[in-house]
């Protein structure tokens, strides 16, 4: 069973746009992180689809690097959110606009 690559690209585009809209609309930092994860996954799906369409293994290797960077980003971001939460109640993105401790 071979689904054409364009459908995977369409799904990836829809996922990316949902993530982008969520990132722009929501103000909770955790939800924004989840939207970033969704966008990263859409890009991963695009990479794998092009790796199949162009018949090149390099796309899949790049997805590996993207996964590692996403993991590191989530670790640091969640640590930041936890430390923000310790200091003040709530983690809306507007509260931390002052870059002060």
């Amino acid at each position: 069973m071979k689904v054409p690559g364009a459908w995977y690209l369409a799904v990836a585009a829809v996922m990316f746009c949902i993530g982008a809209i969520g990132l722009l609309v929501r103000r909770n930092a955790l939800i924004m992180f989840m939207c970033v994860e969704l966008m990263l996954n859409a890009v991963n799906l695009t990479f794998v689809t092009f790796a199949r369409m162009l018949d090149d293994i390099g796309g899949q290797v790049f997805v590996f690097f993207t996964l590692v960077v996403a993991a590191a980003e989530v670790v640091i971001g969640l640590a930041l959110i936890v430390s923000i939460f310790r200091r003040r109640q709530g983690a809306t993105a507007d509260d931390v606009s002052l870059m002060r401790g």
């Binding site: 689904v3 364009a6 995977y8 690209l9 799904v11 585009a13 996922m15 990316f16 746009c17 949902i18 982008a20 809209i21 722009l24 609309v25 103000r27 909770n28 955790l30 939800i31 992180f33 989840m34 994860e37 969704l38 996954n41 991963n44 799906l45 794998v48 790796a51 199949r52 369409m53 162009l54 018949d55 090149d56 293994i57 390099g58 796309g59 899949q60 290797v61 997805v63 590996f64 690097f65 996964l67 590692v68 960077v69 993991a71 590191a72 989530v74 670790v75 640091i76 969640l78 640590a79 959110i81 936890v82 430390s83 939460f85 310790r86 200091r87 709530g90 983690a91 507007d94 401790g101």
Partner: protein, 183 residues
């Protein structure tokens, strides 16, 4: 909370897409790393902080929500437009085919990763180490560069250079607090 569970479902679906396209190694990594580690980390933070109570609904920028939706729809339209205009082309694969041949997918990825992409792979390891160190520094009680006044519930003597004395692993502090942070 529901968003996190739905994210798990979406990530599993993406893993299924990876399997359908022959990327078996990436599907396994996707399930293990994303659905198994990252989302669990999200759930830990959600339950630790207990923030699925209410959402802040007062908008300091009233035009933000429709503007954001408009930007998103415009982004989607732009993506479709580019997809109509541009066709993916590429040189013939000089670092190995992705699907064809009798070599397994894992072996292909590994062969490419440890030959062509060896230097980025090593940089990746350095990035992970830096992330771990940064998470430990951030997850310390009070965070870096803060005085002990923020820790109202611990009453500890401060040494002369302002660094925190050795704090034992208490009830609510992880092993990160055991580390001494020499400021």
């Amino acid at each position: 909370m529901h968003a996190a569970l739905s994210l798990v479902l979406t990530l599993f679906s993406v893993a299924v897409f990876f399997v359908l396209q022959g990327a078996h190694f990436l599907a396994a990594v996707q399930v293990i790393v994303y659905a198994g580690a990252i989302v669990i980390l999200f759930l830990f933070v959600i339950m630790l902080l207990g923030i699925d109570k209410e959402d802040v609904l007062d908008e300091p920028l009233p035009a933000q929500r429709p503007l954001a939706i408009a930007v998103g729809v415009a982004l989607f339209a732009g993506l479709l437009l580019f997809a109509r205009i541009l066709q993916p082309t590429g040189a013939s694969a000089d670092r190995g085919s992705a699907t064809q041949g009798d070599v397994a997918n894992v072996e292909r990825v590994a062969r490419s990763l440890f030959t062509d992409f060896l230097w980025p792979f090593e940089i990746t390891s350095a990035l992970l180490v830096i992330a771990v160190v940064g998470a430990i520094v951030l997850a310390r009680r009070g965070g870096p560069g803060t005085s002990l006044d923020d820790d109202a519930d611990v009453d500890l003597p401060v040494s002369e250079n302002g660094s925190r004395p050795h704090v034992g692993a208490g009830s609510d502090e992880g092993p990160a607090a055991v580390l001494e942070y020499e400021a």
